[in-house]
Amino acid sequence: MSNPTKLSLHVPAPHARPGDPVNFDHLVIPAAGELRCPDIATPESQLRDLPFGLIRVLDAEGRAVGPWNPSLDPDHLRRGLRAMLLTRLFDDRLFRAHRQGKTTFYMKSTGEEAIGAAQSLALNATDMCFPTYRVLSWLMARNYPLIDLVNQIFSNEKDPLKGRQLPILYSARAYGFYSLSGNVGTRIGHAVGWAMASAYKEDDKIALGYIGEGTTAEGDFHEALTFASVYRAPVILCVTNNQWAISTFQGIAGGEATTFAAKALGFGIPGLRVDGNDFLAVHAATDWAARRARANGGATLIEMFTYRAAGHSTSDDPTKYRPADEPKSWPLGDPIERLKQHLILIGEWSEQRHEALVAELTEAVRSAAKEGEAIGTFGKSRPSTREMFEGVYKEPDWRLIEQRRELGV
């Protein structure tokens, strides 16, 4: 067993770095409508090709084609478009607010708005999503008050999280949006537990857990999949593969070797791979998994194939590690443009109506921002310092009471 070739350490590298021409040639993008849509009752053993395909409904012309076409009514689609646009405009405004020193931190979901929006509309009001920091559009689709977002981002007196949490790490129970935290990956197992609880109570609610493709490397993801598979939890586990984890490309998370949807194969649950910039495809795949879960068919893993068009956060400059024009070259386009094109094509939308909507939402964002600024931007206004000592436990013990006294608040 002597060794002909010397061993060498393989370190994956992306196809293009700053200065290189953008290169997406390696991406295999099947045509819209190509992939089959099996019945939700199909056993996993007959679904093992799906993780290697790509569920796409909208073609290049904006036509909705193929077996996954959810044939949604136009109002529903317009709600989705509105949620995506609102997210985009809100992100741009609050990102600028950070540059103006009005908040300490911000993260955009630019380019990924279809995911949260379509899933929010595909699921029930009583279902619960366990978000990452990049699914603001879930809340937008459910009309979460903009002012509450702004107040949280400014950590001002009206901050619903009482100044305790970093900007954008929202919690909105009434909107089916679980508490965010700075740690990535640690809540994916909560989604599974929540879903198991719903099954335990013979309820009809299901859970949706999000995780970034980079974070799928965490053991939490594996343990969540294991519990979801073993106890057939009514949960949808969603990998948002936006190609990047800060400066690290998806190959370092395993994307060079196979798809993220293929992780489902190790747990005997269906794995769907979806064009995440295609509102209709995201909606259809989510609805398929939701119906399967509600029918006691258990968990589904969905890879949302998308692209992080903006920087990771306000602390990041993506031109340092990827070509500046990579975002606009993403072969699967922009989710807002694509849904808009479709609606216009089917005669349910127009450039004029679009401009009007942009104007309306821009104003809505502006006035929410202004209202928040009037209450106070970061540091200008904040909740009572007592809030620092509340909520550590249901009731504070002597340590917190003494310390609050020592601080004199």
């Binding site: 679980y178 935290s181 640690t186 909560h190 599974v192 537990g193 436990y393």
Partner: protein, 337 residues
Amino acid sequence: MTNMTMVQALNSALDVAMQRDPDTLVFGQDVGYFGGVFRVTDKLQQKHGARRCFDAPIAEGGIVATAIGMGAYGLRPIVEIQFADYILPAFDQLVSEAARLRYRSGGEFWAPITVRTPYGGGIFGGQTHSQSPEALFAHISGLKTVIPSNPYDAKGLLLTAIEDDDPVIFLEPKRLYNGPFDGRHDQALKTWADHPMGEVPEGHYTVPLGKAATVREGSAVTVLAYGTMVHVALAGIEDSGIDAELIDLRSIVPLDIDSIVASVRRTGRCLIVHEASRFAGFGGELSALVQERCFHYLRSPIARVAGWDTPYPHAFEWDYFPGPARVTAALQRTMEA
């Protein structure tokens, strides 16, 4: 009242909780059909069904994560970690999630979970079946940490922990499961049958968190202990002939600071006993608190008897385990100083 071992008392607490509240459920490795490697969940699956008491995958982080999600939904999960040595894969879930959820969500979500786990030495379990991790949890704001020393307290404290709306780490001194143990390892095994705290009501009752118990009243020196060390300290006190007051903390978070301070101010001396390694152990915090609050009453240095700063060594069980002789010697030094 019947006589119960600590295992039976804990089993009874789980059974009572499951009878009273349909939203309580129990899961963990080998806790289902088999009833747990220490038998604490014995017959719960038979009585309450596999839906309410089941085996879990070997994934401590996943067990706690799942429990937190269930808690967020509205259930009261009780999970078992087979040995406290194996709770560390779940440490991030306990610290970054269970302990923080209420605070960071502005009170929208919380984790009313109970994490039971056998801890401590004296069973020749070697490095990974003997450790005492309480100091790691005590440092984490948002967690409560409870450590019973007898069957009566074990049942009452566990019921309180289950009904508590905050996450509770419930450390069970495995050396006390089937009988009191005072560290005199060369003597015949004792049983709970002969111990007053082995008398346990069959039904529901609670013992509050944050209230220490005075096991022995005394005027010469205050001894602070919890878990197995309560019995060891008592033996060490007896051997010393010193009129020591022995306080069983029962929970270290919340801590019964008032009872501690009142006693030390009376005795003017203090000895802290724990099984965990000494350095940066919970004894450090106790010593600091006592010193800060009783400085002018102290007649001799606060002393600590604890495990050595080594891993838990299999063949040297009784050299590592802080037994009565070390307690006696420390008491004498404390009185002489």
